[in-house]
């Protein structure tokens, strides 16, 4: 099933960057540049998710979201904004947004957040066991095996591998890992993420010719099934 997303963004470059990226990921996209157009479309079409910029000509993003919620449209909304203060974040979520992403952002992060929103909206039951290729991770017993061979992981290592496996074939950024594994929203100068990834990589990929954890320069890390 093709996912449908509405993008309300007046900056042409960002809008086309989003549209192209999501189309590449197999989504169907409608993109408009004003709040009024966005409201019309969102009220008439059934979207799976909407990406709404806060600073729009005419009807601004916050009012647009409030209008949607007022009309009982419950489409999950990801807010885009150049403002990164906690206050703005809170205001956006209070208006009815479901998540908040600060510009500039990594496309990987946007995609991951949209998918998280969809998961939440569709209420898919969580699997207790993740399997990618010959790698298995059991969320209940916290046992990890590759090619039937058990791998000992510490808490953070486990959490990182789980995150990579959930996002298999999709790159995740260092900031996303930091946020997901430790709950940190800032970038420490020393590369704690790099160190953690290399520990996990040595346990998962060492001694095997077909590597699963890859570094993508400038983007982050990805787990691929060989």
């Amino acid at each position: 099933m093709t996912l449908r997303a509405l993008i309300v963004e007046d900056d042409h470059k960002i809008a086309s960057f989003l549209t192209k990226g999501l189309k590449q990921a197999g989504w169907a996209i409608d993109q408009v540049g004003t709040g009024e157009e966005g409201l019309d479309l969102a009220l008439s079409e059934p979207y799976d998710v909407a990406v709404i910029d806060l600073m729009l000509p005419g009807l601004d993003g916050l009012s647009l979201i409030e209008q949607l919620r007022h009309h009982h449209v419950s489409t999950p909304v990801l807010i885009l904004s150049a403002r990164r203060s906690v206050d703005d974040r809170v205001r956006g979520l209070q208006a009815g947004g479901d998540d908040y992403l600060t510009k500039p952002f990594a496309f990987t992060e946007l995609l991951a957040r949209l998918q998280a929103l969809l998961r939440r909206a569709t209420g898919v039951t969580e699997p207790t066991r993740l399997t990618r290729g010959d790698l298995t991770l059991d969320l209940l017993t916290r046992q990890v095996t590759r090619r039937e061979r058990p791998i000992e992981l510490q808490r953070r290592e486990f959490s990182l591998l789980e995150y990579l496996m959930r996002n298999a074939e999709r790159p995740v950024s260092k900031a996303m890992i930091l946020q997901h594994v430790w709950g940190y929203d800032f970038d420490p100068q020393t590369n704690v993420v790099e160190v953690l990834v290399s520990r996990v990589r040595s346990k998962v990929d060492d001694d095997l010719p077909d590597k699963m954890i890859h570094t993508i320069r400038g983007v982050g890390y990805v787990l691929r099934v060989p």
């Binding site: 906690v86 990594a106 704690v192």
Partner: protein, 480 residues
């Protein structure tokens, strides 16, 4: 235009002060002279009156013994002997007829007919009559036993002359007095306004960019001296702030240049790669990494300036410092392990403070980050907490390369990085952010260091927020 206005205003004050002073001076002199005039004229009048009354008494005695004849004889004898007093005499009978009239030789200008026609003077009173040009007569009278009235008058001429002289002298004195007043006023105004003129000059120089200008102090300890000291202090502070800003700007420009050069280089490489996807991928990845670094630096700079401007809004809640430290230590555990460092804490003691959890965590992470970065292999990093007089004291101690004593005060500067740090990853913004956050909590941070031995950072956080910080966080909460 504004400077012309300012200087004109200064001159107006000078002129006004001069005029006030000279007016006051002249008025004082006039008052003193006027008082002297009144006293003098009263004294002279009293003396004249005494003499006239003496004559009146004498003549009345002659009248009693020998009637009109005795009076006339006495006056004639006096005149003949040259000892006549300069007094007029008129004797009016009980029937109202004038029985005797005497005009002394000294008052030759007086027309006897006018003397005769003068209205009757009531006994015991003083009447002043102008009887001829420049001749006024002051007359008093006494009632005699037979109902007659004896009047004696004296010219006020002598007295008037003395007083006129006095007035003339006064008038002549006024010119030098006025001159003295103006000169004194001008001197006073000029000396009173000198420091103000100097301040005006200094402000003008500063406005033209001469930031090093200072107003000379006079060591007089008066209000203007205080103003000058305060003014110089203000200039000092402004200059320091401007220098700090210039330095920060220079540093930012310098810090921006390096990643921008790398991005440029990578982009150029990608363009010249003739489509080799691996090279392009590498180059674009490098661009993204450098851009993320730039973004992180920009965000931190904004956080610092927000915190330093006092605009940092803290989201205060009770924070278990021990748990927070344990959490941060855990974040760096693998990194420390990789580097062969031991990382230890004494977080057994539970210690609660009112603080912004996220920001204090950032402070601790920054300090630990630094400690690990600057501590060589087999070193030791230790975080301890203790309670001291209602405050929480956090110490981050390492056995790192240390900071030279002369560089120690500069570690809080934005973008400062020690000689050893230049080549290492990370931006020299951490410590100024750390200090800004600690200060926003009403706390203090200090560093001691010995090169080659290690560095110790000490943070003192009040367990309860100060009133000011509490208010800031209250407005924050109410806005949510």
């Amino acid at each position: 235009m504004s400077s012309a206005f300012r200087s004109r205003a200064g001159k107006t004050i000078g002129i006004r002060l001069t005029l006030y002073y000279s007016a006051y001076f002249v008025a004082s002199v006039l008052l003193v002279l006027g008082l002297a005039y009144v006293l003098l004229s009263t004294a002279l009048q009293r003396k004249d009156h005494q003499q006239i009354q003496l004559e009146l008494g004498e003549l009345a005695a002659f009248y009693r013994t020998g009637g009109v004849v005795a009076v006339r004889d006495f006056l004639a004898a006096q005149e003949a002997s040259g000892t006549a007093e300069p007094f007029t005499v008129r004797l009016i009978g009980a029937d109202g007829t004038i029985r005797f009239l005497w005009r002394p030789a000294q008052l030759g200008a007086l027309d006897p007919e006018r003397l005769r026609g003068m209205p009757v003077v009531p006994a015991g009173e003083w009447i002043l009559r102008a009887l001829a040009d420049g001749l006024s007569l002051e007359v008093t009278a006494v009632d005699l036993a037979d109902g007659a009235r004896l009047e004696v008058g004296g010219s006020t001429g002598d007295r008037d002359q003395v007083l006129a002289g006095f007035r003339r002298v006064t008038f002549l004195t006024l010119i030098p007095v006025l001159a003295l007043g103006l000169i004194g006023g001008a001197l006073l105004a000029s000396s009173a306004l000198r420091p103000i003129r100097q301040i005006v000059q200094a402000v003008r120089a500063v406005a033209q960019g001469e930031m090093r200008t200072r107003v000379p102090t006079r060591q007089s300890g008066d209000e203007l001296d205080e103003l000058i000291v305060l003014f110089n202090g203000m200039l000092e502070r402004i200059a320091a702030l401007m220098e700090g800003m210039r330095d920060a700007l220079d540093n930012v420009a310098h810090e921006l240049r390096t990643p921008i050069m790398r991005i440029r280089g990578a982009a150029e490489l990608a363009l010249r790669s003739e489509g080799d996807p691996e090279i392009v991928r590498q180059a674009v990845g490098e661009c993204l990494e450098e851009l993320d670094q730039l973004l992180a630096m920009l965000n931190t700079l904004m956080d610092i300036s927000e915190a330093e401007a006092g605009a940092l809004k803290l989201r205060v809640e009770p924070v278990d410092l021990s748990a927070l430290i344990a959490e941060v230590v855990e974040l760096y555990q693998f990194v420390a392990q990789d580097k062969g460092l031991t990382l230890s804490t004494n977080v057994a003691t539970e210690l609660r403070v009112m603080a912004d959890r996220g920001r204090i965590r950032r402070v601790l992470a920054n300090l630990l980050d630094n400690a690990i970065k600057y501590t060589p292999e087999d070193g030791h990093v230790e975080i301890t907490i203790a309670e001291d007089d209602g405050s929480a004291v956090v110490r981050v101690k390492d056995t790192g390369i240390g900071i030279p004593t002369d560089e120690l005060p500069r570690i809080w500067d934005r973008l400062y990085r020690g000689a050893g740090g230049r080549t290492r990853p990370g931006l020299g913004l951490g410590l100024s952010l750390v200090r800004a956050i600690v200060n926003a909590h009403g706390g203090r941070i200090a560093a001691t260091s010995a090169p080659g031995v290690g560095t110790e950072f000490t943070i003192v956080l009040p367990a309860e927020l100060s009133e000011q910080a509490r208010r800031a966080s209250a407005t924050q909460l109410s806005r949510m």
